[in-house]
């Protein structure tokens, strides 16, 4: 079963043949333009009379090209409104592309929204059959897989209760069970899995694995980078309807994390206006926030003599960690983190990070104006960008108290290195509350990278330093 859908159906067979049989889903130069008319009548007139009416254009997808081979699992990521769902809808044939060509090879089972096509008044059983009919599965075929569906959904007697009485977890379980048990060639899942509990998610991903082995192609949208890196071979990163990056999942996720970190600057953080004289105490009005100002801020701090001395200090240190050139830095500039470092507190491991030894993370904060009780913090992320651990003075009930302009505060965090071997990123931050609102003064994300080594192996990110006791018990 091969479905080809083109913006101009004239091009149909000619282009369709350019994709190999191994291709499950492919798009070439696909665009989806939403025409925004000032009056609804214009849309009808244009569709019926082939006459162009005045409209504005919105590009939901723009020049999107990719191809997914049979059996691949591809994650689609991007910010809200970047076109992920539109992309899936175009693949499904729900939306017609305005330009380009879509090739789909095989039966699609799509889970675009929780229980789309479920009627809340009907029982689970009735809805399963109806859903099957919509997916093009006959009653007999449905009878065969009904047992599998109920087993997978595991909702017990609720199968004969109206769907409106279901919890959202039961809802998604049933919907998902139907979608995967109708033997699709291509499975499309949009953000639905996040509703199920951990046990169900594990079950779903076990099924994913099974699908992958059986050569089923999977496309799925999620905001969980963890799922992408764990289950997808490849990923596609969308931004404003365009593919920013596609390729091996991990690389794309890195790009996404970078993008998200950059975007949070302009959205969440008020940045003070910077003049040559230094920092104004007052926050700049929101509309003045722009990337230029942020760059200037970073630039300024790089020129800062203290910052230079900091780098020198790093070179003197013999503990093996690197200052990250690509740190993400933002803040309103009321304080400045000027000197960062890690010291080894153990004689055994003076030059490297050895699992189980003690280390001190430290940084100095220079304040550019008087502040009331600022908070200093650190966070450790793994190489994929997941927050693993961290703490701050607020959590630990430590009061820095009032600080004045030009005060320098040194914060030191001492702890045993319980992280398992691997590469990690350390971030420092200084923030506070002003009029009840959380304000970031300076935040240096991923400022330090370091590698932990160990001579024993363990599982996961952390070692809980478990004490194991074994005793033989008489039967």
């Amino acid at each position: 079963m091969k479905t080809i859908c083109t913006a101009k159906s004239l091009q149909y067979s000619k282009l369709g043949s350019s994709f190999s049989e191994e291709t499950a889903v492919a798009m070439s130069n696909v665009g989806k333009i939403y025409k925004l008319y000032s009056r609804p009548l214009y849309r009808v007139a244009e569709a019926l009379l082939t006459k162009t009416c005045k409209h504005k254009k919105f590009y939901a997808l723009n020049d999107v090209s990719f191809s997914v081979d049979r059996g691949q699992t591809v994650g689609i990521i991007g910010k809200n409104g970047s076109g992920k769902s539109t992309l899936l809808q175009v693949v499904c044939g729900i939306l017609q592309p305005t330009a380009g060509e879509v090739v789909v090879n095989g039966r699609i089972s799509a889970l675009l929204e929780l229980g789309a096509g479920f009627n809340p008044e009907f029982t689970g059983r009735e809805n399963v059959y109806l859903n099957g009919s919509i997916l093009g599965v006959g009653r007999n075929e449905m009878d065969e897989c009904f047992q599998d569906i109920t087993d997978f959904a595991d909702i017990g007697d609720f199968i004969d209760q109206p769907v409106k009485t279901y919890s959202s977890g039961m809802y998604v379980r049933l919907a998902f069970a139907v979608a995967i048990n109708v033997k699709p060639d291509i499975l499309i899942v949009d953000e639905a899995l996040s509703v199920g509990d951990t046990a169900f998610q594990a079950k779903c991903f076990a099924k994913f694995k099974e699908f992958q082995e059986n050569g089923v192609t999977i496309l799925f949208v999620t905001h969980s980078m963890d799922l992408i890196t764990r289950y997808c071979s490849n990923a596609i990163l969308l931004e404003q309807g365009r593919i920013v990056k596609s390729g091996p999942a991990k690389e794309v996720v890195d790009e996404y994390n970078r993008m998200m970190a950059n975007c949070s600057e302009s959205v969440n953080t008020p940045i003070s206006e910077i003049t040559e004289n230094g920092f104004y105490e007052n926050e700049a009005p929101k509309n003045k926030i722009s990337p230029e100002i942020i760059n200037k801020n970073v630039l300024q701090s790089k020129k800062n003599p203290l910052a230079i001395s900091l780098t020198t200090h790093m070179h003197e240190s013999e503990l093996a960690y690197q200052l990250n050139q690509n740190e993400n830095r933002y803040g309103n500039g009321k304080a400045e983190i000027i000197e960062v470092g890690i010291d080894s507190l153990s004689d055994k491991a003076r030059y490297s990070f050895v699992h189980g030894e003690s280390y001190r993370f430290r940084f100095k904060t220079l304040f550019h104006c008087s502040l009331d009780n600022p908070i200093t913090a650190f966070t450790i992320k793994d190489a994929k960008g997941f927050d693993l651990t961290g703490t701050n003075t607020l959590f630990k009930d430590i009061e820095i108290g009032k600080v004045r302009k030009d005060d320098v505060v040194l914060t030191q965090f001492e702890q045993r290195m319980m992280l398992n071997p691997g590469g990690y990123l350390l971030s420092f931050g200084c923030a506070g509350f002003e009029d009840g609102e959380y304000v970031v003064y300076d935040r240096r994300y991923d400022v330090i990278t370091f590698d932990v080594i160990s001579d024993s192996s363990s599982v996961g990110f952390f070692d809980l330093d478990s004490k194991i006791t074994i005793s033989r018990v008489e039967g």
Binding site: R43, V44, L112, L130
Partner: protein, 267 residues
Amino acid sequence: MLNSLFNFFKIAYRQRSLILVMAKREITAQYVGSLLGFSWTFIHPLVLIFVFWFVFSVGFKVKPTNDVPFVVWLTAGMAPWFLFTNILTTSVGSVVGHANLIKKTVFSSEILPIVSISSSVVTHLVFLVLLFFLLIFQGIGFSLYDLQFLYYLFCLCVLTLGIGLIIASLNVFLRDIGQIVGVVVQVGFWATPIFWDIQIMPPKVQMLLKLNPMFYIVQGYRDSFIYQTGFWERPYLTCYFWIVTLFVLVIGVTIFQRLKPQFADVL
């Protein structure tokens, strides 16, 4: 043109099981959760026919029209009109009402007006069963001509399919269509000789009234159940009806298929 018509019926045929399932669901959805369930399909028309009988036979003692008790004559004409209204009012909202399916699943929206027709026809058949009892009760009895209603029912389905496709697709973009259909149905009831006999009009007006395709069907139902007249005995009207109906159907299919790609964009 003919190609798109052919395509349309091909899709409808391929989706026939889904049409049945959805029609069944539409019928049960009306009564789901109610104690009497499907019995309501009987109760509504039963009460209506009883009221007609009580008002026109017992109360007003209306004179028989053409030697047929008025209540029988009225009910026979009313039956196809109810079906017509029912199909139009469900069709007009069918695409909008299934926005979830259209936007979130791979779904051929063409079948929606057919689903509306299928589910309405079931209710209609129940109504006709009651009409039969009324015929027997009023001493008119059964003849082979009664079965001719199937032909007129088919006529009605084709006509309403064409109209249904037009209004269902336009209503997605212009919600006024729903209101317009409501008004037209109201006016149409009185403009079609259902409550009154066309013979009371001057011949010129009669000609005009016969242009209404619903007149052909209302008259056809009465021909089948009461007058025992075959549709072949009305060749001109039959020809006229089919020309109009097929024209409407082709227009309907064309409009629907032109607008369909935009449904998901607008809903």
